[in-house]
Each structure stands twice: as C-alpha cells, then as structure tokens.
C-alpha cells in the first residue's frame, strides 16, 4: 500500500469533483459519497501506517519540470511523521463528515458543503504527503483556500464573510514569509527537496545567519497558519463557519499544519539556536496569552478557539525546546480531544440554538450522551491523570524542564492551571445549575453522537502510545531511521513534574467548582468585573483594535496615497495604453473593409516593404 499512498489524497478529491458535478441531483445523499471516500482514505492510511512501522521511509518522485539544470520533482513520501498525520487527518475528517450529516441537515447548500470538505481533506492529505517544499507550498495554499471557503460558507452573513476574508489575509501574511524562506532555500541549496536541503545544512553549506533568517521566515508561515501570536486573531473569528468545520479545520487539522511545518523542517530549526528560542518563546507566550483571554469570554466556540490557540502554543513550545516527540504527541491527542469538544459544543448549539454560555445551564440531565462526552474532552484537555492530554502535556513540561528554560516551564505550568479552570468554567456553566433557555430539541441524532463517541474513546486512550510507564512507542517510531533528527525519543525528567502537573490541573478544576457550582468564592474573587484587567481580557488585549489603529490605519493611509497614484499616474498610463490599443483595433477593423482588393494591396505592400528594406540595407540589417 505504501507505493500507492498517493491515492489517499486523491480519493476525497475525486468525491469532491463528483459532488461538484452531480451535487444538485444527489442532495443530502451527497453525504454518503463524501463519507465513503474519506473512509476509504482512512482505511488506506491505517494500512500505510501499519506497513510503515516495520519498513523504512518510502519515497517516489517524477520529474515534473526541467528548468535549465534543475529538475523540479513531484511525488510523495511516507515518513513516520506523515503516516501519523494521514491517519489523524483522515480519521477526524471522516468523523466530522459523519457528524455533519446530522448537523447540516436541511441546509440548502448541503452538497456544496461536502464538496468543500472533500476538497479540504484532499489538500490537507496532499500537504502531509509532500516530499518537497514547493509541493508543500501548493497544498498549503489549497488548504488555505479550503478554509476560506468553509469559514465563509454562510456567505450571506456579514460576519462570516468578514471572518473568511480576515482568515485568508492574516494567514497570507505568514505565507509570504514561508514563500520567501522557500525561495531562499532554493537559492542556497538549489533544491526544494527536504532530504537534499537537510543534507546541505548538515554539510554546513548555509551560513548561520542565513539559516536563522530562513528558519524564522518558515516560522512566520507556521505562526500564520497555527494562529500564534501576533497573527492569532483570525482564528476566533473563524468560528463563524459551521461548527463541524471548526472541529475539522480550526482545531484538528489545518491549524496543526503550522506545527507540522516546524516539525517537518525541524533540522533547519535545530541548526539555529536563535530560531529554536524564538519558537519556544512565541509558543509559550501564545499559550498563556490565549488561555488568559479564554478565562472571560462567553461564546462557547470562541472559548474553544482561544483554547486551541493556547494548545498550539504548547506544541510550539515543545518543538522550540527540542521536544520533537512531545510536540507531535500533543498535536495528535489535541486533535482528538479538541475535535471532541467542538463536536460536543456543536451538539449543544444544535439543541438550544445559542452560543452564549451565560444563557445555558442545567443541560446535564437533558443531554444524556453529549454531557459525559464533553466531560471526557474537558478532563482530557485539563490534563487530569490517566487521560490522553495528561501524558502529552507532561511530555511537554518535561522537555521544557530538561531544556533548562525554567521561565517557560513555569509559564507552561500556569497555563495548565488556567486551562483546566476555563474549561471547567465552561463545563459548569453549561451543564450544572438551572436551565436558562428552553431546550429546543432533545439529544442529537445518532450520526452526531457516534463520531463524538469514537473521539471520546480516543481522547481517553490515545495517550498510551507514549507514557513513562509502558514505553515511548511514538517517540521511537518517529526518531527511528530519521538520520536528520537529532533528538531523543523521550526526555527523562524528574518525577515530581508529573505530580505537580496533576495538582495544578486539579486545582484549576476545584477553583472552577468552588466559583461556579458551590459559589463559595465570588466570581470577582480574582478579577473584579469592570476592572482594568477584566476589560482588557474581554477585549482580547485590544489586539484587534491595536491592529486597526496601527497597521490598519497606516495601510489605509498608504492605500489612499496609492489610490491617488493609481488613479492619476497609472490610470493615465493605462488610459493611454488602452486608448492606443483600442484605436489600433478599430484602425485594423476599418482596414478590414471586406474588399478583397484591399487584402491584395496589403500583401503586395507588405512584400514591397520587406524587399525595400532588404534592398536598402544590402541584405545586412545587423
């Protein structure tokens, strides 16, 4: 199957094309085609993963374009890292598509939704399989396009339209960095191929300063896609898309692409300590920064979005402190529990038609299946012992500790506390207390509960692939045979870190319980309502406003200036050019009088001109 791994992304593309053509006739049965296609992809991915465990990396390429001396290739590669992502992406996509069948029921553009989902899945799987940077960049942009289309799915809503635009533009800023990095790498190494680039870096062919610059530019691409500070503000807005989309793209897959990019080009980063530190610091800062905003938001999906940003920061922190395994591990577990949380949130929104958590409450008894599943997700993200999030978070904390960056270590610790607090604030406000709105419908349909159930099982169990007790299967799988990756499969740290992490997480839950259920502690205990900190947090540190007044205003001023140049200088030039062309055109058309004798004259005149010039120059014009 490894030789045929290229089929995995093409199957969803095929379904997407089919739906594009026949969508109108198929209506809601479009879902079956989409689900079936991605299910096949998932099964193939699992087979590839199983085969890859005992086999070396498989790579196949064809020459796509020859320019001068350089052969530009296209192909695919089956590495340890991308088999894991193949399975994760196809699984989550499959579950989300099953879920969407119930969630999107009655939607007018139902088949279009599945067309987009198939297209996105194709792009994401293609991104993962790419063996070189150029191909990765193509798919990177296609993924962005898929995300744009899906965020703007309700394009008649102004917010959705704005959010889609914002997401596209803000990620483009990062993409520009990525593109420059790719060009620089090509310039310096003459190749787009990962292996060749890593070899020339290993041989020291690129100077240290240039390497740092390239790594930072690559990281800029990752910052945009993964919603890291300062390019994070599109992600909460992207919640305007349908909830299944938020679960698929803005929790599990696309936003993880930035982390994947850093992981896949890890040898470039690890060659530059400045770049590594930048990654770690940005990651750590984003983690605590986004977690603090999540404390006070009241829209269920936005809280989860900030939580995603914060968790992605965690992953970056792990990668930046050389915790390669830890970063990937958290990427996988996070995909499962965060998708679960989003899908459960979707199920709640489906039932009561509001996203404001202050208008929810007492749902535990009403939604017998969604509630425990949400609880599992919440426990897992909080890092409660024995669930998947606990192990991956522990791995990150250990790698930060081993790396010796104690400030970042304690930031990560505090973030763990904040995380469990805001997640349980969410949980208690939604599920306990008195109901504040009427429940419109009962439990969601089976097609929505089944995917949540599967994700629930994974959120509990997926941590056991890398534990300090049973062995680090994941780390060994990732590191084995990868000669460019100079990191240990597992970092050994002091045992108290695990205990401390558990204590921090549980105390976060306890605090949330005391404030929101027992109400023994006032809500204003820590931060007074209306206080400076509170308003700052509610307004997300005024980042959007800051951007508006600095970048936005500057750009607008610049735009005004440019528009004058455009209107008068360029416009004038344009007017002259188009005028000339247009008059040339009409002159030509006038000459075309329909009289054949004119045509004959033109021929003889043409011949005469040629011959006369030839005669005058003596046949030698050069």
């Amino acid at each position: 199957m490894m030789e045929n791994a290229w089929l995995i992304p093409l199957i969803p593309l095929f379904s997407s094309v089919i739906l594009l053509i026949f969508g109108k006739q198929l209506r809601e049965s479009a879902a079956y085609i989409g689900i079936l296609a991605v299910l096949v992809s998932f099964i193939c991915s699992v087979i590839v993963l199983v085969e890859r465990i005992d086999a070396p990396t498989y790579k196949q390429e064809i020459v796509w374009l020859v320019t001068g001396e350089v052969n530009i290739t296209a192909g695919f590669e089956v590495t340890a890292l991308n088999t894991l992502l193949l399975v994760m992406v196809s699984l989550v996509s499959c579950l989300v598509q099953i879920y969407s069948k119930g969630y999107m029921e009655g939607e007018k553009r139902f088949s279009i939704f599945y067309t987009y989902l198939g297209f996105f899945t194709f792009a994401m799987l293609g991104l993962v399989l790419s063996p070189n940077l150029l191909q990765l960049y193509f798919f990177w942009e296609l993924v962005g396009l898929g995300s744009f289309l899906l965020i703007g799915f309700y394009f008649y809503k102004k917010e959705a339209k704005e959010a889609a635009k914002k997401a596209f533009i803000m990620t483009r800023i990062g993409d520009l960095g990525l593109l420059i990095a790719i060009i620089l790498l090509f310039w310096k190494t003459g190749s787009f191929d990962f292996q060749e680039i890593f070899s020339s870096i290993g041989a020291g062919e690129i100077s240290g300063g240039m390497l740092t610059l390239i790594a930072l530019l690559l990281f800029a691409g990752a910052v945009g896609k993964s919603g890291q500070f300062p390019l994070h503000s599109w992600l909460p807005d992207a919640m305007e898309g349908p909830t299944p989309v938020s679960a698929l793209i803005h929790a599990a897959t696309m936003v993880a692409a930035g982390v994947y990019l850093v992981a896949v080009t890890f040898p470039i980063f690890s060659a530059s300590s400045t770049a590594m530190e930048t990654v770690a610091v940005i990651g750590g800062f984003t983690a605590i920064f986004a977690a603090s905003i999540a404390l006070v938001q009241k829209d269920i999906k936005r809280i989860l979005a900030y939580s995603t940003i914060s968790q992605l920061g965690y992953m970056m922190l792990a990668l930046g402190t050389a915790g390669y395994t830890a970063g990937i591990f958290h990427l996988l577990t996070h995909a499962f529990f965060k998708a679960l949380l989003f899908l459960a949130a979707g199920s709640i929104i489906h039932a009561i038609h509001t996203q404001d958590i202050y208008k929810m409450g007492g749902l535990w008894k009403k939604m017998r299946l969604t509630s425990p599943l949400f609880l599992i997700g919440a426990l897992s993200i909080s890092g409660v012992p024995l669930l998947s999030g606990f192990f991956s978070k522990d791995e990150i904390l250990v790698s930060a500790w081993v790396n010796g960056n104690f400030l970042l270590f304690w930031i990560a610790m505090i973030t763990a506390f904040l995380t469990s607090f805001y997640v349980f604030r969410l949980f208690f406000l939604i599920f306990t207390g008195q109901p504040k709105t009427e429940v419109v419908s009962k439990e969601s349909p089976f097609s929505m509960v089944l995917p949540m159930g599967i994700l629930g099982i994974l959120a509990v169990c997926s941590g056991y692939i890398q534990t300090p007790w049973f062995g680090s299967y994941l780390g060994e799988f990732l590191v084995k045979g990868n000669k460019f990756l100079l990191v240990p499969a597992h970092s050994e740290g002091p045992a108290w870190i695990m205990a401390a992490a558990a204590v921090f997480s549980l105390s976060g839950i306890l605090l949330a319980y005391l404030i929101y259920v027992k109400q023994t502690i006032s809500r204003n205990f820590l931060i007074k309502e209306g206080s400076f900190i509170n308003t700052t947090l509610i307004n997300k540190y005024f980042i959007d406003e800051t951007y508006y007044f600095t970048v936005g205003k500057t750009v607008k001023g610049l735009a005004l200036f440019c528009s004058y140049i455009e209107r008068f200088v360029i416009g004038g030039f344009e007017w002259a050019v188009t005028g000339t062309i247009r008059s040339l055109g009409s002159a030509g058309a006038r000459l075309q009088s329909g009289q054949v004798q004119v045509y004959g004259v033109a021929v003889f005149a043409g011949l005469a001109v040629l011959v006369i010039i030839y005669a005058l120059t003596g046949g030698l014009i050069r």
């Binding site: 062309i581 040339l584 045509y599 004959g600 021929v603 005149a605 040629l610 011959v611 050069r622």
Partner: protein, 504 residues
C-alpha cells in the same frame, strides 16, 4: 528508368497516402452509386475509418528509416512523420465535426462532396509535408488549396459561404503567384527543383549578388506561403473566409491547413537556407542575419491578431483573429530557429496543443450554434446553466488558448517564449511583444469566459450533443489538460520517434 527501378522503391512508405487516396475514390464512387435514400452522412464514418487506418499505417511506418521515392518527389523522413501525425489527428477530428454538421439549408445535395473534399485536401497537406521537390510540394499545396476553396463555398445557396469562397480563391491566386515567382528565382539560380540539389548549390554560393537574389526569393516564398498560415501581411482573407465558411471547414482551415502551411514553410525554407551564407565572408548564416525580418512579421502578426480581435463580436471572426495571433506566436519560434538552434520540438508541441484546444472550442461552437445561423459571442451566454459539460470544456479550451498554467497552451507558449531568450542574441523585443499581446488576448478570451459562466442565459434550450462530438470534446479537453500537466509525455514521444530531425 525502367519498371524494375519503379518496383524497387519502398512504396510501403506511402501507404498512409494510398489509404487516403483509396478512401477518397471509394467515397466518390459510393456517392455516385448509392441510391438517394441512403443518408450521405454515413460517408463521413467511412472517411473517418480511412483516416484512422491511415494513422495506424503511419504508426506502422514510424520505425523505418528515411525513404526517398522518385528522386525525392516523395520523402518519408522524421519531419514528414511528425507533421503527418498532426494532420491526420486533426483531420479525423474535423471529420467528426463535419459528420454532425447540420445547417438549416444549403447542405443537402453537396453532402457527399463535403466529406471527400476534406480527404483530398488532407492528401494535399500530407504531400506538402513529405516531398523533397518543389514541383510536388507545389502540387500538394494546390491540391489542398483548391479543395479548400470548394469547401469554403460548399453551401451553394448561402451568400456568406459563396463570398468566402470567392475571396479565398482570389487571395489564394495572389498567394500562388507570389510563391511561384519566388520559386522561379530559386530554380533560375540553382537550375534544379530538387531541394537537396538546390541547397548544395546554394550553400556553396559566395557571390553577394547571388546571395541578394536568394534573399529576395526567400521573402517572396515566405510571403506567398504565409497565406496558408494566415500571418501578416497575408492574413486579411482569414476573418472573412473563417466567418463565411461552414464551421467544420473553418476548423479545418485553422488547424489542418495551418499545420500544413507551417510544414511547407519549414520544409522549403529550412532545407534551402539553413546553410546559406548571410554575408560575403560567411561570418553569419542566412538566418542569423535575416531572422530579424521574420521577427518583424511575427511581431506584426501577433499585434494585429490580438488587437483587432478585441473588436469582434462574431465568434468565428474572433477565432480567425485568434488563429492569426497563434500563427504569430509560432513565427516567433521560426524566427528564433536562427540556424543553429533547431527548436523543432517546441514547434511541434505548439501545433499539437493548438490542435486540441482549437478543435475543442470549435466543436462546442458548432454544437451550441446548432441549426440556428447564430454566431455571435452572445450565443454562449449562460452556457454553464444550460450545459455545464460543454461550458467547462469550452472554458478549458479557452484557458489553454489564452495560455493559462495547467493547460497545454501554457507549456507551448512558455517554451516558445523561453526559446526567444535562449538564442544569442536574444529576441527580447519580440518576447516582450509576445507577452504584451498575450495579456491583450486575455481581454477577449476572458470575455468569452464571462459569457459562459457569469451571465445568465435568456435561451433555455439545451444544446443537443451528438455522441461523436462528445467524444471529440472529451479527447480534446483531456489532452489539453494532460499535456498541460505532463508535457513530457508528448515531448518524449517526439524525441523517441522523430529524434532531433537529423535526417531532415
């Protein structure tokens, strides 16, 4: 020459031509003796089978070495093979178009002729690619021309068709006169009509007076033959004739006839002038010192084709100008040949890509116009709602004609564009004109796309698509995309079977 020598010739090399000739005769006889109630459209299928058999036999003779029959009056070298392949594929497609061509009136009694005249024209074109002698080349040229004149006017009772034929004949006459005048110079200077014998004499000529006369002959032959490829200054007939002629004939003129025109230009001018001196001391070759004139013609052709196309509202007329523009792009490749750089694969690939994208577009135009006499751009309005498949196919063909990445047209155009830089000294101005006019061409090509996809249609009738046309369109679109994504398939085939035309 006795019978024995005659029989010793490798006549099997001419099997493709014999098959076409045989099919033509068969069709003529059938048309004559078939009772009137048998539909003459069936002849098209027989003709198509003939063309396909001929194509098969061409594939069978691909491996054989250069064959020369009757002192080079017939030559089967890799040049001939490469061009015949294009001609046969193009003619097969045109035959499919012609089969389902059903105008309102004026085609009843001439159905039979309609089909076998395509075959005689094809035969002429094939001879044009495959002869090493001026006389036979000229006969091929005239066979093609005369068949085409009749084809353009095949709708006897249709005024536009008659006018087109008339203009075509007169322009053709002028073209023939100029070509022959040029050829007579060449014959007078060398005393032979055999290209090989002539080129030996010509490359040994050092006298500047003689070289000067060679130059004059060069221009006359080039201008005379530029009639066939519809390039400046001999392009003005094209819009009128393309517009008046029946759609399959228009398609034939813009693809098959143009390919044959390029074949004869390359055949005569390259084999004669490739090694001629450009000046008295032999510092330059002829092409090196004179390619500037070809470049000039190429530039003018691109500008006229693209700029005047902007003002056209009639689709067939628009495509006439578009085809003039494409002849201009191909002349860029001809100009950059410049003697030592023989970018023949570029040339061939462009013609191949052009064949698919242009015939794909013409097929859609024919189907959509149906039996109405509508030919305006507005007939495509909202086609996407009426028939998504046709609209997408047309869209892809148009994108390829415009040279958008991902299509064969892009690869073809880029290779010519890069070729203009590859030669030394480079044709930078010409490349700039090519880029600039390509941008201009976007205006009218995208105008068509706008009509196809973004306007809603007033007409609600769905065009009826015959199976033959469906296959034709599907093949064209498929090939356009395939060669756009993997041009090496075609280029590898070319290099494998035709080499670098060393036996030219």
């Amino acid at each position: 020459m006795d019978l024995q020598t005659m029989l010793n010739y490798h006549w099997e090399a001419m099997i493709p031509e014999f098959i076409i000739l045989g099919t033509t005769v068969l069709l003529t006889l059938l048309d004559l003796f078939w009772p009137p109630y048998i539909k003459r459209r069936r002849l098209a299928w027989i003709g198509l089978i003939g063309i396909l058999l001929s194509l098969l036999s061409l594939l069978a003779v691909l491996p054989i070495e250069v064959v020369s029959i009757l002192d080079d009056s017939f030559r089967l070298d890799s040049f001939a093979k490469a061009f015949k392949m294009l001609l046969l594929v193009g003619a097969a497609f045109v035959m499919l178009l012609a089969e389902s061509y059903e105008p309102k009136e004026g085609m009843k009694e001439q159905r039979g002729e309609f089909y076998y005249l395509f075959l005689t024209a094809l035969l002429g074109a094939m001879i044009m690619t495959s002869s090493g002698d001026l006389i036979t080349l000229f006969i091929g040229l005239e066979l093609l021309s005369i068949s085409s004149y009749i084809l353009a006017g095949i709708r006897k009772h249709h005024t536009a068709s008659n006018e087109a034929a008339m203009k075509y004949v007169i322009s053709g006459g002028i073209s023939t006169a100029i070509t022959l005048f040029g050829m007579s110079y060449l014959y007078g200077l060398t005393g032979s009509t055999n290209l090989k014998a002539m080129s030996i004499i010509m490359k040994e000529t050092v006298d500047t007076q003689f070289l000067y006369l060679f130059g004059l002959a060069f221009f006359m032959v080039l201008v005379g033959l530029s009639f066939k490829i519809a390039s400046a200054p001999f392009h003005m007939w094209a819009p009128d004739v393309y517009q008046g002629a029946p759609i399959p004939v228009t398609a034939f003129l813009s693809v098959v006839s143009k390919t044959a025109g390029f074949a004869i230009i390359l055949r005569i001018l390259l084999s004669l002038y490739r090694e001629v001196w450009g000046d008295a001391v032999g510092a330059f070759s002829f092409f090196e010192s004179n390619s500037i004139y070809i470049a000039f013609l190429a530039g003018i052709t691109m500008i006229i084709g693209n700029v005047v196309a902007l003002r056209q509202r009639n689709l067939k007329r628009l495509f006439a100008y578009s085809s003039i523009a494409h002849a201009g792009y191909l002349l860029v490749a001809f100009a950059t040949l410049g003697g030592q750089y023989f970018l023949f694969d570029t040339f061939w690939f462009y013609l191949l890509a052009y064949l698919f994208m242009n015939l794909g577009a013409f097929a859609v135009i024919q189907v959509v116009s149906g039996n109405t006499e509508q030919e305006g751009i507005d007939m495509l309005t909202g086609l996407y709602q009426r028939s998504p498949w046709l609209a997408v196919a047309m869209g892809i063909s148009i994108l390829s004609l415009a040279g958008i990445p991902g299509t064969a047209g892009f690869i073809a155009k880029v290779s010519i564009f890069l070729g203009a830089f590859a030669v030394d000294p480079g044709f930078y101005v010409l490349a700039a004109i090519m880029a600039g006019t390509t941008v201009i061409s976007y205006i009218y090509y995208f105008g068509i796309l706008v009509q196809l996809f973004l306007r809603s249609s007033i007409i609600q009738t769905k065009p009826k698509v015959p199976a033959g046309i469906n296959i034709l369109v599907a093949v064209c679109v498929l090939m356009t995309i395939l060669f756009g994504l993997a041009p090496n398939i075609a280029l590898d085939f070319f290099h494998q079977h035709f080499g670098d035309l060393l036996d030219f």
